[in-house]
Structures are given as structure tokens and as C-alpha cells.
């Protein structure tokens, strides 16, 4: 069995045995298979869209920069809205109006842990706006997803999301929560689904709940600023 020219010492034989025992014999995890399938589909049908995997550390640094920029944009946008329309007119097309719609939409309303609701208020609401809320502070208010308990945490997140589960709820871009998630995280190409801002491993992210199919529902996690899911889990349908 030995491939070496010299006989192995007992210690080396023991190492070989231990390594053989530590071999991974299970199948590829379903979430990895789903991710690879998506990439493969992109490669096969839209070759230009499939991008190499972005290094996670570099992505986190970029996300932090994007988030700071997004926070600045939100603050500036709200300031402009208040200057242009001091009485917060209903025809405004600013982020403030979108957030106001979010309040009106009881079905898709974002939980208090929303990043755009530091101190529990939406950006469009009256009241003082934190002028220099650091990006990291926002992440601390998000629903936290732990890497080792991802499926469980996402199930909890879905439970807190509540609301309807009709096909309309999973339409791309519809729903105030989806718009708000896009505004906070930098609108990404996340596909159709219900978007919930979260913190994944300490990094701001969005979990996208896909429309349930049969007895299962797929949830993809995207880091802010990325259109490539970093994780994908399959849950029992709600």
C-alpha cells in the first residue's frame, strides 16, 4: 500500500491511518450544490455574468466602505427631502418617501432591528436623524446570523418576518421591506424574493427568502454590495 520508496515508520503508518479515518465521506452539502448550480446556470446561459468568487475578506472591506457611503447618501437624501419639502409632502420620491410607504405596508414592514431604523425610527420619519451613525453600529442592530447555526437563525428571521406568503410577496422589488433593504444595503441583483437585512458574521447582509416550492423554501444570503450569494439554505416551507 505504501507509495514511498522507504518503509514507513510506525508513526507514519499511524498518521496514514488517522488521515484515512478523517476522510470526509459525506455528500456535498445541499446549499453548496445549489450555489454551484446557480453559477453553472449563469455560466451556461449568461457567460458574461458569471464572476469569479470574490474573496470574503476583500468583500467585507468593500462592504464596509459601501455601507459608509450608503449611510452618507441616506443622510444627504433625507436632508434634501426636508429642504425641498419641509412638510414632508407625500409626492416626494426620496428615500424618505419609500420609508414612509414601508410604514403604510403592514405586511412587509421591517422589524425594529432594521438597519435603517436606528433608534427604532425609519429615515423618513420625523425626528432627529443620527448624522454620523457608523456603519458598524448599524450592523449591531441587525438580526444576527451565525455561521454554525445558519438554518436555525434564518428560520427565526423568517418567523419574525411574518406576513403573507403569497406569490406576490416574493415578487422582485415589491414590498416596502424589499425597497428598504435595497436602500440600506445597496440594491443588488438578488433575484425575486422577500429581502430581510441581517448581519452575517458581523457583516451587513441581506437574506432573500425565495418563493416556497412544494415543501421547501430556499433562502440565500448576500453580503451587501454583492450579487453572489455567500450561503444558501433550504428550509421547510412556512
Amino acid at each position: 500500500m505504501s507509495d514511498s520508496d522507504q518503509p514507513l515508520t510506525p508513526e507514519e503508518e499511524e498518521v496514514r491511518r488517522l488521515l484515512a479515518e478523517a476522510r470526509h465521506t459525506g455528500p456535498t452539502p445541499p446549499e453548496v450544490v445549489a450555489r454551484l448550480d446557480r453559477v453553472l446556470d449563469d455560466l451556461a446561459h449568461e457567460p458574461d455574468r458569471a464572476a469569479p468568487v470574490v474573496d470574503l475578506a476583500r468583500r467585507r472591506r468593500r462592504v464596509a466602505s459601501l455601507l459608509v457611503a450608503a449611510a452618507a447618501v441616506v443622510v444627504v437624501g433625507i436632508g434634501v427631502a426636508q429642504i425641498v419639502s419641509p412638510d414632508a409632502g407625500s409626492d416626494s420620491l426620496t428615500a424618505g418617501s419609500a420609508a414612509s410607504e414601508a410604514q403604510d405596508d403592514g405586511q412587509d414592514s421591517v422589524q425594529p432591528k432594521s438597519p435603517f431604523s436606528a433608534n427604532g425610527a425609519n429615515p423618513g420619519e420625523a425626528g432627529p436623524i443620527p448624522q454620523s451613525a457608523p456603519a458598524q453600529d448599524k450592523a449591531e442592530h441587525l438580526q444576527k446570523l451565525r455561521r454554525q447555526h445558519l438554518a436555525n437563525d434564518i428560520t427565526v428571521t423568517r418567523g419574525e418576518l411574518g406576513g403573507r406568503n403569497s406569490a406576490d410577496a416574493y415578487s422582485s422589488g415589491k414590498g416596502s421591506a424589499n425597497r428598504a433593504a435595497g436602500a440600506a444595503c445597496g440594491a443588488g441583483q438578488w433575484g425575486r424574493g422577500r429581502f430581510v437585512p441581517v448581519s452575517f458574521g458581523g457583516t451587513p447582509a441581506v437574506v432573500v427568502f425565495r418563493r416556497p416550492v412544494g415543501d421547501t423554501q430556499v433562502a440565500d444570503v448576500f453580503l451587501c454590495g454583492s450579487s453572489e450569494p455567500v450561503r444558501s439554505v433550504t428550509l421547510p416551507a412556512p
Binding site: S4, R23, T25
Partner: protein, 221 residues
Amino acid sequence: MGDDRSDAELLEAHVQGDTDAFGVLFARHRDRLWAVALRTMGNPEDAADALQDGLIAAFRRAGSFRGEAAVTTWLHRVVVNACLDRIRAAKVRRAEALPDDLDSHRDRGSLATSAPADPADRALDDERRRQVLAALGRIPTDQRAALVLVDMEGYPVAQVAEMLDCAVGTVKSRCSRGRVRLAELLDTLAPGREADHPSPGNPAPSPPVRSTHPRGPPEPA
């Protein structure tokens, strides 16, 4: 899958524009490639990234495959290179990467040994496997890749040499040095060498509980 075409036929079909062929081919070898990526990278997250890198690279470079090696060897080469590139470029901290697939391992057992029925033995095996993988993450990347392919996956050295694009002697050397290093790291795993394991035999007698001072009223001064 139901596709009777050989690996080489699938790869050729992919090069000729068959949009489904590569998916069939990759799915055929996916689990083994995943195992290699997982053990080389040390954790599922980096393994998934590396496997995706390898998938993309293989998809795009299929036209450069010349048939000098088996398709599966070529696929392994691409994926292993993706792993090594990722480790080198991203400086993945393998020492921190403890295996987190032990739970799923429990019910599957191992090809080498059957899973012990005793929970205590199972826990011991899990702990040993955890230490083996942690030690594996501490040896040089090239040695690790060679050991994963030769000792874990059981590929012949000649095939691994093709996968790693190096000489057979280099693979042997890497394996040998890697085993020696692992033996040092795993020294405490060897039977009877555990540092905190009590010596066999009866324990040493405990000190007497009873006071050694004579009882009774204090001696008059």
C-alpha cells in the same frame, strides 16, 4: 443522472456547445471534489468558495484539456489549484479552521472504520478527528494537498503527481515530510502518550484523611 456518456465525451460535448454536458460531468465528480476541497481548505466556507473557483476555471478552460490525463484527474487538478491559490492569496488561517462537519460525520461513519456504538468512543473518535484535521491545517499547504489526495482520498502517487503537476518523487517527498510533521503534531494522540492521561495501573495511594496530630486536649504550656 442517466447520461451514459463518458467523462471525455461530456467534456468534448461541452466544448462543442452542449450547455448541459458540463453540469452532468461536474455533478458526477462533485462529492469527491468537495471532499478534497473541504480537507484542503479546512472549513466548508472556504471549501465552497474554492470549489466554485474550480468550477468556473474548469468550465472556461475545458477547451485546453488535451486528453493527456483522465478527465477526473484534470478536474482534481483544477480544484486543488483553486484551493492552493485561495490559500496563498487569501492567507486562509488554517490553524483556526477546525472541522465543523463532525456532526454530519457521526451518522455516516468512515470508510476506514465503522462508527463505534458507544457514545464515549464516538466522542473520542470525533475529538481525535478534530485534532487530526487541526494538525493537518498546520502543515505547509503543498504537503497538506499531497496528503489529502494520497492518504485521505487514496489516489495513487502517480495520479496525484498529475493532479499537482509535479514529479512523482516530489509527491512522495511532500507526503513523507508531511507525515513526519503530523506525527510530531499528533504525538499526544498516540496510544499511551497522552500528556494528561493517567498512567496505567492503580493510582498512587491518597494521603491519609485523618489528622496526623495526636488527639486530645492541648498540651499544657
